[in-house]
Amino acid sequence: MTEPEMRRDAPAIDVNELHKYFGDNEVLKGIDFHVNNGEVVCVVGPSGSGKSTLLRCVNLLEQPTSGTIFVEGVEITDPDINVDKVRSKIGMVFQQFNLFPHLSVMRNLTIAQQRVKKRGKEESVDIARRNLAKVGLAEKEDAFPAHLSGGQMQRVAIARALSMEPDMMLFDEPTSALDPELVGDVLGVMKELAHEGMTMMVVTHEMGFAREVGDKLVFMDGGVILEEGDPAAVLADPQHERTRSFLSKVL
């Protein structure tokens, strides 16, 4: 097992010729995808387009069938790499939040800090409090996930990922499971993160967020990237027929 040497000067995410099969079903058909440091890249597309699979490949929640993925200069598709070390540098936010229901909000934020980063109790609690305040939930540290609303759960999940002080964040449809009136709170937190310079890869259906916050928009369909570029430009003047038909349905 080799210890990964991650470098902030290398591209944050660099995916080359990525193929992914589920059984006989080819979900990703040769993807080239790049995110530079400090960039916010939004990935959109119809369901089943492979956008979530691509995102999950970046921290190896899905094992790519072939192709290479570099994260900050480290080839994570190398079977000898210490994946846990790489993952602790990549924050991940799930559609279904995936908070740990048996732990308090505070413990949700400190357990990985203590178990993985070997931080002391006081330090981890300090960092957790700072991140809870950042997402506007400082008063909820003793609550259990079951007593939070969906929007609050997702903000806690973001704070949990941030408490590991990751170099980049992956968002897998972070607002899709939320009631419409709660979406704004979560997008607000994400916007603030982007303004602080966090590197972000966001799979989303929120076109407004993509246009306002995104540095790049990637449109996927059928396991390939059909179109990518400046979000405003792609949204205003899509080049591909399928992009046009998708955007006409969601906008």
Binding site: N59, L61, D84, K85, R87, S88, K89, I90, G91, M92, F94, Q96, N98, L99, F100, P101, H102, I111, A112, R115, V116, K117, A146, A157, R160, A161, M164
Partner: protein
Amino acid sequence: MAMSPRKRAQVSRGVQYGIMLLIVVVLLVVADWELILSQFLDTEILLDLMPEIFTTALKNTLLYTAAAFTFGLIVGLLLALMRLSSVGPYRWLATGVIEFFRGVPALVVFIAFQFGLPIAFGVVMPGGILGTVTVALGLVGAAYMAETIRAGIQAVPKGQMEAARSLGMSHSRAMISIVVPQAFRIVLPPLTNELILLTKDSSLVYLLGLSAASAELTKFGRDALNETVNMTPLIGVAFCYLLITVPLSIAVRRMEARAEKAR
């Protein structure tokens, strides 16, 4: 004469109550109450059982059961994790152990440990009677608990493991800190049921040849029965078993009701 369905149901229920009442009344009249009370509820004999029935017999039953359950829980968890391992030999070994101890009567396991082990390997179980009960009864319980715990682990949503891994936890760390604690909440009611079964199975320890000091409830009751030639000790022993198992049953029902509400 036509009856509405509701009317018919009412009449039918009335007849059923009537029959039940009749049976009870007949039993009350026919029974020889003097004989029953003297044979089953002789207060003198009952008082004679005190305090040993509690201080020795009940205490030993609790001790044997608790030791076997604790041992079984640990081994059961290990077996469950082995069953779910990606390493083939672990899975096969666990499956073999589980199938063996689930398929063989607890009585046979007790005999094997008490008499088979010294013959086969020239060793005696350390820890005397308590050691043998712990391991023999514990392994039988472990085989059942392993399957329960495995189902519990598989009932924890996949996203929990993914979230833990995405925070940099190793697979085993995520299992220990995140998945297994949630699995135990799910399987608490069936594990408590297993505890009730073990409480009763602990009576098999009589096979090991118990002295008066190491006797548990069933052995104690049988000895007293032989001595007094009266059924009263058995009634006392049954009452002691219920003293353990009924609160546990109530606890299980409470837990299930709470889980139902939380859903």
